[in-house]
Amino acid sequence: MREYINGNEAVAQAVRLARVEVVAAYPITPQSPVVEEIAAQIARGELDAEYIRVESEHAALTACYGAAVTGMRVFTATSSQGLAYMFEMLHYVSGSRVPVVMAVANRGLAAPWTIWADHQDSIACRDTGWIQLYVETAQEALDTCLQAYRIAECPEVLTPVMVCLDGYVLSHTEEIVEIPAQEVVDAFLPPYKPREVVEPERPLVFGVGAGPDIYPAFKQAQQAAMDRARDVICRVDEEFYRIFGRRYGGLVVPYRCQGAEVVLVTLGATMGTVREVVDRLRQEGRRVGALRLRALRPFPAEELRRVLAGTRVVAVLDRNCSFGYEGAVCTEVKAALLGLEKPPAVAGFILGLGGQDIRQADIEDIFRRCLAASSGAVHQVAAAQS
C-alpha cells in the first residue's frame, strides 16, 4: 500500500509492523508525532502494545530496558536534549546487550536553544555502544526500522540500534511511502526470542557489577559484536531486498564515485541535494561523486577505502562540530583513509547547524573549491559557512 506520509509516520508504521510489544516514550520536538501516532495506533486497536507514558527520556529508555529484559520487543524515540538526557542509559542498554531500537529525529543542541536539524545529538552519542544508521528518505526510515530489529536481535550482535532521521527535513516532510503488508513483514521479522529473560525460577543478574579483572572482557565482547554487525547489517539489507525489493547498500551508499576526482561524503537527507549537484557537475564533465555513510557505528572503514581509493580529494560535509577540532565525521574519514597507500586529501566542511539550509550552491561551492585546489592546498580549505 502506498501512502503520502512523513518520516515520523513512517517510523510509527514500522513500529506497528514490527509488532513492538512495549513502547516507553516522552514527547520532544520534532519526534513527538512518532509517539502520538503509536498511541493512536494502540487506541485504534491496530497495534497490540503497552504504552508507558513516562515522565522523562531517561525513564523512557530505562523502562524499555526493564521491559526488554523480560523478553519484550521495545521501542522508543527521541531527539536532541532528550537523547542527551538518556546518555547514561545508552551505555547501560548497550553494555547489557539489550536489543532496543530507537528512532532519533536529529536536532541541534542548546544553547542557543533550537528545534531544527543537525547531527550534534546523535554524533555526541557515537561512543555509547549503539549501532547508528542514518537514513535519507521516509521510506528508508520505515525500512531501516524493520531492519534494525533484525540487526539488534541477531544473536551475533545483540546491540541496540539508533535509526537517525533528520529533524523536519525527514520527520515532517511528506513523500510517497510503500507500506508493506503485515504478512510480508512477519516473514522477515519473526517474534523476538531472547536467550535469557527475567524469570523468577531462574535467578540471573542483568547489568552486573564488574571489577577491573573482568570489565575489559565485557567491553571486548561489545566491540567484537559491533565488528560482526558490519556483515549482519549488509546481510539483513540483502535479505530485505529479496523480500521487499528495496535495498540501501548496507553500510555505505556511493553515488557516481566511479572515476571521480572529488567525492563528497555526508550523512542523512542532505544526500538528496548532493546527488542533484553531482548530476549537474557530471553533465559539465566534472569528475565528481558522493558517498553517504549509512552506518556511522560500526564505522565502514574498509568500504570507504575501497570506494575512495584513487580519489584525489575527499570532501566531508559535517552537520556537527567536535569543538576544538573539526567535524566528527571528517576525523573518522581521515583516519579510515590513512590505511591507503596513496590516501586522498581530505577537506572538512561544517554546514547546516541548527537547521541552516544546505543549498545546492553551497554543495557546488565545496565541489568547485576541491576541484580547483591542488592536492597539497586542499588541507587549507576552511569550513564553509553560507
Binding site: 531517561h58 523480560t70 527475567v198
Partner: protein, 270 residues
C-alpha cells in the same frame, strides 16, 4: 505475620555487606515475606555493590540493575513486561537507599507511582550516601555529621530537617505506604505483607542503620533501630485508604540515649 511463620529459606545470602548492615537485613526480611516469585530491581548502592558483582549473585531471585536515578523507571518496564507475559504472580521489588529514593530517584519514583504499575518500592534509609563514603542526603537527620556536612569552626553538621517522603508519596494517593524499622521486625514484616497484597504501587521506607556510616559497633544495629523509634526520631506510620496514621510513642526516651551511641552525633553532646 508472625516471625515464627517466616520461611527458613534465605533468598539473599553470602553478600559482602558489612557486619551489622541494617540495609541487607531489611532486604533479607522483605524477601522472606515476598518469597521466591520476586524480581529485584536495584541501583548502584550498597545493596548492588555487596550482592551482584560478577560472577557473584547473592540473591536466589533474578536481579535487574540499573542507573542511579532509575530504579522505579526500570521497575515500570519490568512490571509491564511481566504483566504482558501473564506473570502477574511475580512481585517486582524496587530497592534503593535513601539517596537513590529521596534524592536522585525521586522523579522516577513519582512517575511510577502516578502511573500505577504493580510494584513494591523499598527504600532502606541509612540516612546518607553510604556506598560512596557517608555523604549527606536529603534524608540525613538534622545535626548529623557526614563527610559533606562536617563539624568544625563553621560546620555544625546537617542543618536541614529530613525530607518527608511519606507526605510526598501520600500526595500521590498511593494505595499503600508505610515507614518501618528493622528494630521492629514484626511491624515491618506485617507492612511488607500488606505491600505484597496491595494491587498497584506500594512504598515502604525502612530505617536501616549502618555501623560504619553512623559510627557505632556493629552489634548495636537492631538496638539503635529500636531507639530511633523510642526516642521519637523515627515515626512508625502507615498510609492506607487515604489516611495517614502514626503509632504513638508513650513516654519517649531521651534523645541523648540515641545520640550518645553514635559518632555522627557526638558533637551535639560535648
Amino acid at each position: 505475620m508472625k516471625i515464627t511463620e517466616l520461611p527458613e529459606e534465605e533468598l539473599v545470602y553470602g553478600s559482602f555487606a558489612c557486619a551489622g548492615c541494617g540495609g541487607i537485613l531489611a532486604v533479607r526480611l522483605a524477601l522472606k515475606v515476598l518469597g521466591p516469585r520476586t524480581v529485584i530491581v536495584t541501583t548502584p548502592s550498597c545493596l548492588l555493590g555487596v550482592t551482584t558483582f560478577y560472577p557473584q549473585l547473592a540473591f536466589k531471585v533474578p536481579c535487574v540493575n540499573v542507573t542511579f536515578p532509575s530504579t522505579a523507571a526500570a521497575v515500570s518496564g519490568v512490571a509491564t513486561g511481566l504483566k504482558r507475559r501473564g506473570r502477574e504472580d511475580v512481585h517486582v521489588l524496587g530497592v534503593a537507599g535513601d539517596g537513590g529514593t529521596v534524592d536522585i530517584g525521586l522523579q522516577a519514583l513519582s512517575g511510577a507511582i502516578e502511573r500505577g504499575h504493580n510494584f513494591i518500592f523499598l527504600c532502606y534509609d541509612n540516612e546518607a550516601y553510604m556506598n560512596t563514603g557517608v555523604q549527606r542526603s536529603s534524608s540525613t537527620p538534622q545535626g548529623a555529621r557526614t563527610t559533606t556536612t562536617p563539624v568544625g569552626l563553621r560546620g555544625k553538621g546537617e542543618d536541614r530537617a529530613k525530607k518527608d517522603m511519606m507526605r510526598i508519596v501520600a500526595a500521590h494517593d498511593i494505595p499503600y505506604a508505610a515507614t518501618a524499622s528493622i528494630g521492629y521486625p514484626q511491624d515491618y514484616l506485617r507492612k511488607v505483607h500488606k505491600a505484597k497484597e496491595t494491587k498497584g504501587p506500594a512504598y515502604i521506607h525502612v530505617l536501616a542503620p549502618c555501623p560504619p556510616g553512623w559510627g557505632y559497633p556493629s552489634h548495636l544495629t537492631v538496638h539503635l533501630a529500636r531507639l530511633a523509634v523510642q526516642t521519637g526520631q523515627w515515626p512508625l506510620a502507615e498510609y492506607e485508604k487515604g489516611r495517614l496514621t502514626q503509632k504513638k510513642i508513650d513516654n519517649p526516651r531521651p534523645i541523648e540515649e540515641y545520640w550518645s551511641l553514635q559518632a555522627r552525633f557526638a558533637h551535639l553532646l560535648s
